[in-house]
């Protein structure tokens, strides 16, 4: 373990977040078991009040998780000098096998928490708590992931002993290396660009269609998910190259650095929010028939779809702009 302020901060925060999540999940279980909307009993009143607490906790969680996601990358980047061969965050994350799982869990919990808040938003607009069961089941799904993230992150930090030879950007992404990263690199620039443009266009089209006439909900959700993955792949296989203006630096993390004008922050923020909103639209669809939400869900879906399209369009424009101003020219 390295006593680095960033690591300590992440460590303390994930512990606090886990505690809060466990607390919320315990209340969630009680709500699932004892909920009875028809009852005027005091227990029911107490449970209803707890829903406020839980949604507050998840809201804060979402905000903290977002910051922690970026701090995690930032910290990994700042301590890479301690590891021989590590040139940036990629190197630090491969110091032991818990680095990437931690990052993945952070992204996953962020997305689930975002979806939870969308459900919560819809539920709060129905006069009879129509989504209460779905909401708290989702919370119970979220909780283990949050705990897993804390545990995996702990393992990762405790396993960080300085000066172990690690693979740096160059070797992780070299053509001969095995694993998911190299498969992505094996995807050449042109197919990656086509894939990226097609999925972005399809998603935005689906989003516009939903926004205008309320059709194609699942299509938008599925496309948002696909676009998220495709965008990350494209980030590694060609977007990053244009930003670094180097034909071989396939790193998805360095773009959050100052040298590149912090362009990574808006990019990832837009991508994440677009994805959460797009997926959220699909998540709401099964509840469309609830009587109290008949008119509410379509309106929310429309709003979410519109916002998702805006996020994706902005994301694409920033990417295109970066490609245009880049001094690197590729086909």
């Amino acid at each position: 373990m390295i006593l680095n302020p960033g690591i300590l901060a992440l460590f303390i925060t994930s512990l606090l977040i886990s505690l809060m999540t466990i607390y919320a999940a315990c209340h969630g279980i009680q709500i699932l078991r004892r909920w009875d909307i028809a009852s005027g009993s005091e227990l029911q009143l107490i449970l209803e009040r707890r829903t406020y607490l839980i949604s507050t906790i998840v809201t804060y969680f979402l905000a903290f998780q977002l910051v922690s996601l970026f701090l995690f990358i930032q910290t990994a980047d700042s301590i890479c000098h301690l590891f021989v061969g590590a040139m940036c965050a990629v190197g630090t994350l491969t110091v032991n096998s818990f680095g990437y799982p931690t990052l993945l869990l952070k992204v996953l919990t962020f997305i689930i928490a975002g979806l939870w808040l969308i459900l919560n938003y819809a539920d709060n607009r129905g006069y009879d708590y129509p989504l209460i069961r779905a909401k708290y089941l989702l919370l119970l799904i979220l909780a283990p992931f949050v705990l897993a993230e804390t545990v995996v992150q702990c393992f990762y930090f405790f396993g960080l002993t300085p000066d172990i030879i690690t693979s740096c950007c160059g070797t992780l992404y070299s053509q001969s290396a095995r694993g998911i990263a190299s498969e992505i690199l094996a995807l050449p620039v042109i197919p990656a660009k086509i894939l990226f443009s097609v999925s972005m266009l399809a998603t935005c089209a689906a989003g516009m269609r939903l926004f205008l006439n309320g059709k194609g909900v699942y299509r938008l959700a599925a496309l948002s998910g696909i676009t998220f993955v495709v965008s990350i792949i494209s980030m590694i296989s060609f977007i990053s190259l244009y930003i670094y203006e180097m034909p071989s630096h396939h790193c998805p993390f360095c773009i959050v650095q100052k040298e590149y004008g912090y362009v990574g922050y808006p990019l990832y923020l837009l991508l994440l929010s677009g994805t959460v909103l797009g997926l959220g639209v699909g998540l709401l669809q099964p509840f469309r028939n609830k009587k109290s939400l008949e008119h509410i869900i379509p309106a929310i879906q429309q709003k979410c779809a519109g916002a998702a399209v805006v996020a994706f369009v902005l994301f694409t424009s920033i990417v295109s702009w970066q490609i245009l101003v880049s001094s690197l020219k590729m086909l």
Binding site: L3, T56, D77
Partner: protein, 377 residues
């Protein structure tokens, strides 16, 4: 949308007035909070700036330094080593380096005497660091004398004072010529303090180091990467530890915040009861508590961070100086280059705002769920 903004502004209006009504308590909280942020931010900024400074400045240090040890202690290195080492593939140049310390019993200060690799002063003259110049009031043209290894004093004319801007590297240096230093220190002509190597390819550092130790088992090679890593970890160790120790203070602060948040006075409970009775919803009260947290945290955070910046980069950590100086009489006067990044601000946020917020979530919720008909009873 305009409604939402106006809603928030109304709530901020009310939150501020309710904070102002309890000036003493909230003022104390804000002050303690800002001081905590200030100290933490100073530690973070200072150690980070120093680390970057060292990393940039020392990036041109000798790539490999070869020392000799005998019975586990330093010895001077025979110069013939350098010819042997030069034969190793990948080594561009090997240079004997001469340096050592000199204790000045009058000023109770330690000087570092070193022979520059390029442009050494002519025999009989020296260059001195600006720290020495300041301490002794010595300027170019003055004559300084030191007692050499044989106890006899030797006089030198000061040729130059090294520029103040590099004081963090050169404050206590005395530069002199090869001949003068050998005469002064008694190091024989076929010996040197250590050897410095230039190497073509960074990837070969460790193989070259290995070859050197095989060639001369008593050699001790130190790589530049190790030097840089040492400085990377410089203060890392203790700034982490300071934070661990300091977390006790943060914890105490969290307890204080918790206590303030849970220990609602009868007056506050009555107020929240009135608000709920006249039409505020639980989430409005939660919003009010959220803004209360934001007002306190954000203000403390911003004020603390900005003051810490001034403290570190304008006053050169005046408040920490006693700890850093220790017993040294020859302390450099330096102005750090402001290396700061968003990561530090995020770290600060996580170390201060998050614990505070987490401790206040449950108490705020408790306060927000007071029965609206409480005021009627």
């Amino acid at each position: 949308m305009a409604n939402v903004i106006e809603h928030h502004r109304h709530i901020i209006d009310f939150t501020l007035s309710s904070l102002l009504r309890r000036k003493g308590k909230n003022g104390a909280l804000l002050l303690v909070y800002a001081v905590i942020v200030f100290i933490l931010a100073s530690v973070l900024f200072f150690s980070h700036a120093l680390r970057r400074e060292a990393n940039l400045a020392l990036s041109e240090s000798p790539e490999i330094i070869v020392q000799r040890t005998m019975a586990g202690r330093y010895q001077t290195v025979p110069i013939f080593w350098s010819d042997r080492i030069r034969t190793i593939n990948g080594v561009i140049s090997v240079r004997p380096r001469l340096w050592g310390y000199q204790y000045d019993s009058v000023f109770q200060a330690n000087y570092t005497l070193t022979v520059p690799a390029e442009h050494p002063p002519e025999p009989g003259s020296i260059d001195i660091g600006s720290g020495i110049s300041r301490m002794r009031g010595a300027y170019p043209g003055d004559i300084i004398s030191f007692a050499g290894h044989d106890g006899l004093p030797r006089s030198f004319t000061i040729r130059n004072v090294i520029d103040h801007e590099s004081e963090l590297l050169t404050s206590d240096l005395i530069l002199l010529s090869d001949k003068d230093y050998r005469d002064f220190s008694g190091i024989p002509a076929d010996q040197a303090t250590d050897l410095t190597l230039r190497v073509r390819n960074p990837r070969e550092y460790s193989t070259i180091a290995e070859k050197i130790t095989r060639m001369f088992p008593e050699a001790r090679p130190i790589l530049r990467t190790e030097i840089l890593r040492t400085y990377d970890a410089l203060f890392g160790w203790r700034s982490g530890l300071i934070i661990v120790i300091f977390s006790a203070a943060i914890f105490a602060f969290a307890v204080f915040a918790w206590d303030k948040a849970t220990g609602l006075s009868a007056e506050e409970r009555r107020e929240i009861g009135i608000l709920k009775a006249v039409g505020w919803e639980t989430s409005d009260i939660l919003l009010m508590k959220f803004w209360e947290g934001i007002v306190l945290s954000l203000t403390a955070f911003l004020v603390g961070t900005i003051l810490a910046y001034a403290h570190v980069f304008y006053t050169s950590v005046a408040l920490f100086a006693p700890v850093l100086k220790g017993w040294s009489t020859l302390y450099p006067v330096f102005r750090l280059t402001p290396f700061i990044d968003l990561g530090q601000v995020a770290t600060l946020f996580f170390l201060t705002v998050v614990p505070y917020t987490v401790t206040t979530i449950i108490p705020s919720w408790r306060a927000a769920t007071i029965d609206p008909d409480a005021v009627m009873r």
